[in-house]
Amino acid sequence: MSDIFSLFVTFFKVGLFTFGGGYAMLPIIEHEIVNKKGWITSEELLQYFSLSQCTPGVIAVNTATFVGTKKHGFLGAVATTLGVVTPSIIIISIFASVLKRLDDLPAIAHAFAGIRPAVAALIVVSCIKIFKSSVKSPSQILVCILSFVLVAVFKLSPIIVVIIASVYGLLFFRKSGAKQ
């Protein structure tokens, strides 16, 4: 039981100290789980991390679920997964209820009016980053542009785009992979 509790507490810390998610949490997990606890090796962590990117959902949570499963099966997975999301639930709920009360303040409205274009710029930048790392062939450029057009112009559900792109990848890139 204390094992399970310690898994929860450790991943609570990971959730608390992760800012932004994804790659930001890798050094924190490495410090807590590999160096301090010695629960898994660096190689295992990297394997879990790359698997987490190929699994649906949030990368930080997926990594937590992998480590929990490896350490303590189902209960371990429950402990790490709940641990990593609990700080968000607490902090965001406090933030959301405070914001609700401050909603009438004109200063808050002005602040968010200024923040929104900044958020747009930040999303553009992370989009360029993903584009550079994942789009390597002309057919992939086409997939990227089509996905954008189908959702932004033709209002198709992103779920349909994800399904079509997966099937397309399975049919087309399996062959091109075999040729190489």
Binding site: G21, Q53, T69, R116, P117, A118, C127
Partner: protein, 191 residues
């Protein structure tokens, strides 16, 4: 009660189809705001992104918690987050039994060769939505609407931060810094 169940189902779907982490959930949440306008609006969603990037915790989880809170308070926050992580939890529990087979599978590699570029396109749609919300007073229906609806001050913030982020040194700064600067400019110029 039905609304809560529907919300759980929507976040379950989001968790199942959003792949690649970070902002991957955002296009699905925009879709949700279109289908359920009484839950949260797309401009509220833009504010949630700012808060999620400026508070601890993975962005995807923060977004789900925030959206769930908007829909049904603290209970909504908890249920939305659990629904979001449930699909991945189940999948990981299954694949952890044959890990190496999964990661070396040529089928998995092939699927992701098609999927990753699509995710880049989906995140571009999120950028486009937030850009429209933040820089124009009204939703655009044709090209001639662009100039009269353009809010110059907001557009300048967008352009300056986008240009600043092309410099390597500034790129390394935490997004929260840009969010705070933009907030200060918004208050100072009463945007």
């Amino acid at each position: 009660m039905n609304d809560i169940l529907l919300m759980c189902f929507e976040f379950f779907k989001t968790g199942l189809f959003s792949i690649g982490g970070g902002l991957a959930t955002v296009p699905f949440l925009f879709d949700m705001s279109k289908n359920h306008p009484n839950w949260f609006s797309s401009s509220e969603l833009a504010d949630m992104i700012a808060v999620s990037e400026s508070t601890p915790g993975p962005i995807g989880v923060n977004m789900a918690t925030f959206a769930g809170f908007k829909i049904a308070g603290i209970g909504g926050a908890i249920l939305a987050t659990l629904s979001l992580v449930l699909p991945a939890f189940t999948i990981i529990f299954i694949i952890s039994k044959f890990l190496s087979k999964y990661s070396d599978s040529k089928y998995v590699t092939a699927v992701f060769s098609g999927l990753r570029p699509a995710v880049a396109g989906l995140i571009a749609t999120a950028a486009y939505s937030v850009f429209q919300i933040s820089v124009f007073t009204d939703t655009l229906s044709s090209f001639k609407d662009i100039l009269p609806n353009l809010q110059i001050g907001n557009f300048i913030i967008f352009a300056v931060i986008l240009i600043a982020l092309q410099f390597k040194k500034l790129k390394k700064l935490h997004p929260i810094i840009f969010i705070f600067i933009a907030a200060a400019l918004g208050v100072a110029f009463k945007l």
